[in-house]
Symmetry: C2
Subunit: 469 residues, 2 copies
């Protein structure tokens, strides 16, 4: 330990030396040299605490007790060392763990990565067991509903910018649901399980949900019917105001908080110009345990359907909500970091976009290549390699066919197929004249460009304003 | 089956109808309507064969017999359904499987994703059990060494563009190694295991490698020494030419092919202007079984070291080679697709870049935000929300503090910390005058901009040419 302390002291002193040299505007070489020494010392010091914190011994426990009844969809796995491991079920729990382990109290970030569900795959609807999610989250202690409104704005922006047809964002609040369950006489212990029954209302009829509540989950028919009266309602801010007048519901502290926040949220969403996309839907419950406040789910209004299915065939394409307790579950001292976020079902959206493009027979350009380096005669491979290298070094996206002596026609056809807008043609005469023949694939026009001007000419012709991609 | 055939026929007819309408320049609504019908039919038809091919029943088998002695590093896992599964060890084998399953014979692509190794983590050097790799591969039947040269050019481009110090790319060829083993008298059955012994020469001394060959792997000391004479050599194209004159080696068909290809490769690398970065190194063997031709590995020449370690502390930061047999292993008919590619060790490179920035105390800008929407007085949250929404809708990267009444000073300080170049300040007077005060954080200059001109002014000031990020 004394040894480590000594090393730490050395690192500190060396750090000061580097700072000193920089203040004295010492030579780059000299600074680099001292930096190298500093890095050596740091390496000897080994991983610092911050880094050690990343070694989480039992990640399995990270996932348990977060997903409620969805837990059965977690892919458990067992590594050769015998540690219990699972594939991550979403990006939210890992994000919360990351905040807690790094003591972050304030961050806004997006994250695109794979998650895993032990679900039944349905390829045509973009349901896979391994699939990408794109998450956006805002963590931190802020004034009510401002970050929540931004999340919904972003969700609407993304879905509007994609050509996947019209959509609707259902919004609700966990506190309204809990308050509603309380006044309907659902025992606290059954809130979560009744929650996930309610959540099925977008797929099955109220009758089926009621049977589950009474038959499987032991509610009395009266309690279930009372819930039914509420969860079958949906509307705009007017429904929020109506429920604020509801004699029973408005007496419940939680429900009241939820309703007042929703009212504020609708104000902000109106300022963001998206209130018309939002539907306050009391049947929206979201299966996951970790939500504590506002929750939302975006559904497409026109998508491919199979016989017997509801029009909302692909299910939700984006969803999220507020989870103020999750970070605290990972913090030894239980320090809370309020969070709100959303997940986009990338694969589901892709499957819809791809099906539409396929049906419309629209060709998607698969390369960003600006120019193909071609040759008009044989024995010009070396010249093509030299030129393509020049273009690469100048930051031009260039390609050549991997053949020693390709036919010019094949090279031009390749451009047509790949949608490459320009061809730089090398010929023996051009080499003599110090020029390159630059051909526009679309117009088939050809002009001789002086080799030293080629890069600028290509940049000019493929600048964003003119780019065909 | 007859039912499916009928459905397929319906899909075909509906597809023709859509095409017809498009040719007749029918209304967008009408086309959309017919497209919706087509999608409905396709959804009823269910996943097509192409998609069904993606359901690979025993992925475990995908990984076995690909990695040779590295196999022990594969993370095996077991899902709840009892299927045997493993976490992918690299991106190369999945890429080959993808080509075979989709009958692709020609593709160039890059792929950034996570891979898993049951190795000993070393955080300070960016060695993790779960880490990102960035792969680039060229698949297809082409003329010799052209794609191979492009892979090395790309590797050098990437490593040069990062500020991680000087680097060297070791190059060798599996056929030269095999030919060398043959003429040294190594039994065929031991080629691969001797290969991975040789591969350790960058970490341990020749003596230790020899002991392993003789003690553990049963070579005679004479055979080992004969190998030693070869594998301790390295140099440029001159060494290739020298070995082409080697009486024994040049008589071996495989070795000769490898040497001639390397000679050609050096020609192309000279045209690409990177020959000086390349070292022909006979000790480079690469542990993995699937390589069949040229192999390469990039090592940094100055990096943080721990006591007792070789200067090349972080090990290789990029590596790859040619693997012409791998795709055929997944194809029922064994159809081969020649491939060459490379992997970049993203995390290792990040750890080096981060350590250098830390040591140099250079601040990295963590946001692309162009403008913060701020307010000069209280009770202007609604106005800030309206303005930030306008800017978002116009494609401007804008933020606001999530507070009802933030102090102007705090808003300006936030810009300083986050490196946000502009502040759009709303005040009561500005609202009356229909202007916004636009402040440059760097110069602290403020000008009143007419609200309708704000977007253009922000775009002008943060256009790439002027952007500070």
């Amino acid at each position: 330990m004394a040894e480590r302390a000594a090393l730490e002291e050395l690192v500190r002193l060396q750090g000061e030396r580097v700072r000193g040299l920089k203040q004295q505007k010492a030579s780059a070489e000299q600074i680099e040299e001292e930096v190298a020494k500093l890095l050596k010392l740091k390496a000897q010091l080994g991983p610092d605490e911050g880094k050690q914190k990343f070694v989480l011994k039992t990640p399995k426990e990270t996932l348990t007790g977060k997903y409620g009844e969805d837990s059965k969809l977690i892919y458990d796995l067992k590594d050769q060392g015998g540690e219990l491991l699972s594939l991550r079920y979403d990006l939210t729990v890992p994000f919360a763990r990351y905040l807690a382990m790094n003591k972050l109290t304030n961050i806004k970030r997006y994250h695109i990565a794979k998650v895993y569900r032990r679900d039944n795959p349905a390829m045509t609807r973009g349901r896979y067991r391994e699939f990408y999610q794109c998450d956006f989250d805002i963590a931190g202690q802020f004034d009510p509903m401002i970050p929540d409104a931004e999340c919904l704005k972003i969700m609407c922006e993304i879905l509007s910018s994609l050509q996947i047809g019209d959509f609707l964002v259902k919004v609700n609040d966990r506190r309204i649901l809990d308050g509603m369950f309380a006044i309907c006489g659902v025992p606290d212990s059954k809130f979560r399980t009744i929650c996930s029954s309610v959540d099925k209302l977008d797929k099955v009829s109220w009758e089926e949900v009621k049977n589950e509540m009474v038959g499987e989950k032991g509610l009395t028919p009266e309690v279930a019917d009372h819930i039914g009266d509420y969860v079958q309602q949906h509307g705009g801010v007017s429904l929020v105001e109506q429920l604020l007048q509801d004699p029973k519901l408005s007496q419940n502290k939680q429900a009241l908080e939820g309703l007042e926040d929703l009212k504020l949220l609708f104000e902000y969403l109106t300022l963001f110009g998206i209130a018309d996309k939002i539907s306050f839907d009391l049947s929206l419950a979201r299966g996951l345990d970790y939500y504590t406040g506002v929750i939302y789910e975006a559904v497409l209004l026109q998508t491919p359907v199979r016989p017997g299915e509801e029009p909302l065939g692909v299910g939700s394409v984006a969803a999220g909500g507020r989870y103020d307790g999750l970070v605290g579950m990972f913090d030894p001292k239980g320090r809370k970091v309020p969070c709100v976020g959303l997940s986009i079902g990338v694969e589901r959206i892709f499957s819809i976009v791809e099906q539409r493009l396929e049906a419309l027979e629209e060709k998607v350009r698969t390369t960003e290549t600006q120019v193909l380096v071609a040759s008009a005669q044989k024995r010009l491979l070396e010249e093509r390699l030299k030129l393509v290298s020049e273009l690469w070094d100048a930051g031009i996206k260039a390609e050549l066919l991997y053949k020693k002596n390709p036919k010019l026609l094949n090279q031009l056809q390749y451009c047509e197929e790949a949608g490459i807008p320009l061809v730089a043609i090398i010929g023996e005469q051009e080499l003599k004249d110090g020029v390159i023949k630059l051909r526009s694939v679309a117009s088939r026009e050809e002009v001789d460009v002086r080799r030293e001007d080629l890069v600028e000419e290509i940049k000019r012709r493929t600048s964003p304003a003119l780019c065909i991609c």
